[in-house]
Amino acid sequence: MSTRELTCIGCPLGCAVTVTLKDGSVTAVTGNTCPRGDTYARKEVTNPTRIVTSTVHVTGGIHPMVNVKTSSDIPKDKIFACMDALKGVRAAAPVRIGDVILSNAAGTGADIIAAGNVPAK
């Protein structure tokens, strides 16, 4: 049996939530004030995920960079692998919101897609 201490992000209250785990599954969630804390804590200890946002270099655009994001949330422990995969990537202008910049980033199954517009110079 093990426990994890978390801060709930559901609202400004920021409840200190304690999650008890046995064999990798949640047996208890305490400290939360509302059901949102329970849901958040269970997800966060078993399968924490994040949307990653970043930028990549653009060639031939009116801006040197375009901002990008993962098309869906990815496992938290893949954030840096995902960032590494963006090194050296160059998108050719024009870039439009939704353009796929990199498929299946770091094997997460998520694509890196443009989240900003960069017209050609």
Binding site: G10, P12, R50, I51, T53, T55, M65, K69, I79, A115
Partner: protein, 426 residues
């Protein structure tokens, strides 16, 4: 002199939403003046996601949120002049006191004057600088406001430093802690003067905790070293008086200090025009139509008061656009009765500050911030001495805007109403 019904100063989220709303209320003749070379304002450098949950029911990045409004402005064929700095706003005496004269400048048109029936101020805000914070020490390179660093990293693609200390736990500071970390920098500590963070819980968890970056509450920077580039920063704990406690100093070697210590509405143009400003918000004092002390000049977004969510900026700006449209078509009801909204007991200010019971819309959203963290307290609204509503809130914090709704019908039941008071009660 060029003539427009409505001139909007600023093409960020506030200006864009105001323009769309005014057009949808039937005003054809609108001009947006934007100092940057593109629309979207500060959203263009806010590449993190989390924008638009209220407006679009999905989480967008800043540029995506901006693009949706830019598309709406483009679809409506609203005139924009980019790369154009507004130099001055005044009442146009030649055209009679009702028109406003906007003086602007750009590379191609030079300096030019526009006569406008109404003006919406949407210039946004700026960050509090190191000097305004009175941080002692040297003045080398490597001290950036978080927003300047954000622009350098996100838009220009440059790294402003490798080893970073951040003062201030506002959302921009937290977001930049993660952003710099993801780009390979080492963020050593985030110091916050107050005993609580001004940022969202979500950002504290996902920008600091995820990367093991310590947040030191009740701490401030007391010294900056380095003649040409920052070489170290010393922080210390502060007492209840917010003064450093001797003996609590901690020195961090670093090459960069980022400051995220609050935003200040940018009202130099408003001051020049003679618009009355609130000493609390640093923004114009407005009535229920978001009209400033000068007839026909409206304000919305961060130039009016600093918002926590862009969704609220868009809502407020849409209201300003509608009210400006009403003004352009029907003029101003000058002699309408005005009731002051008083803020006390933890409520720092309200926007608007005045309401006209006979002129207001059916409902009016009054936004405000509290001055401290309040747990299990209520927001109470008084019409003169009578408490008309009391709403329980599990938690309120200075970093988040609060609101109450006033109903025209309800105000109509109190014909002798002198003032409305909003306060926090146990």
């Amino acid at each position: 002199m060029k003539y427009y019904d409505l001139v909007i100063v600023g093409g960020g989220p506030a200006g864009l939403a105001a323009a769309v709303s005014a057009r949808d209320c039937g005003i054809e003749d609108i001009l947006i003046l934007e100092r940057d070379n593109e629309l979207g304002g500060i959203l263009n450098q806010c590449i993190h996601n989390g924008f638009g949950l209220h407006t679009f029911k999905e989480e967008l990045t800043g540029p995506e949120y901006a693009a949706r409004f830019i598309d709406q402005v483009t679809e409506r064929g609203i005139d924009c002049r980019l790369h154009t700095m507004v130099m001055d706003i005044s009442v146009d005496t030649e055209a009679g006191s009702f028109r406003k004269k906007v003086t602007a400048m750009n590379r191609t048109d030079g300096m030019f004057e526009i006569s406008a029936a109404a003006v919406i101020l949407a210039m946004g805000c700026r960050e509090r600088s190191r000097g305004a914070l009175n941080i002692p020490g040297f003045r080398p390179a490597g001290i950036f406001s978080a927003g300047t660093a954000q622009r350098l990293v996100n838009m220009e693609g440059y790294m402003p430093g490798r080893e970073v200390v951040i003062l201030g736990s506002g959302d921009i500071g937290l977001i930049m802690a993660r952003r710099m970390t993801l780009e390979g920098a080492k963020v050593k500590v985030v110091a916050e003067l107050m005993p609580y963070s001004g940022g969202l819980k979500r950002n504290i968890v996902q920008c600091l905790d995820d990367f093991g970056i310590p947040l030191k509450l009740s701490h401030t920077v007391i010294d900056i070293e380095g003649k040409h580039r920052v070489s170290a920063v010393t922080i210390a704990e502060v007492g209840a008086d917010r003064k450093p406690i001797p003996g609590t100093e901690e020195r961090y070697t670093c090459d960069t200090l980022l400051l995220s210590c609050g935003l200040i509405p940018e009202n130099e143009l408003s001051k020049g025009a003679g618009i009355a400003l609130s000493p609390v918000t640093s923004g114009p004092i407005v009535n229920d139509s978001l009209e400033t002390s000068i007839e026909g000049v409206f304000a919305c977004g961060n130039v009016l008061h600093v918002h926590d969510l862009v969704d609220y900026v868009s809502q407020e700006a849409a209201a300003a656009g509608k009210h400006a449209a009403d003004y352009i078509r029907h003029g101003n009801k000058k002699h309408a009765k005005t009731v002051e909204i008083r803020s006390t007991d933890g409520v720092r200010y309200t926007v608007p500050k005045y309401v006209r019971p006979t002129e207001m819309s059916d409902t009016l959203t009054v936004r405000f911030r509290v001055g401290d963290v309040y747990k299990n307290c209520s927001i109470a609204v008084y019409f003169d001495d009578i408490c008309v509503s009391r709403r329980r809130r599990p938690v309120m914090a200075p970093g988040e805007m609060e609101q109450i709704i006033l109903e025209k019908k309800k105000l109509g039941e109190y014909p002798d109403l002198c003032s409305i008071t909003i306060r926090i009660e146990k």
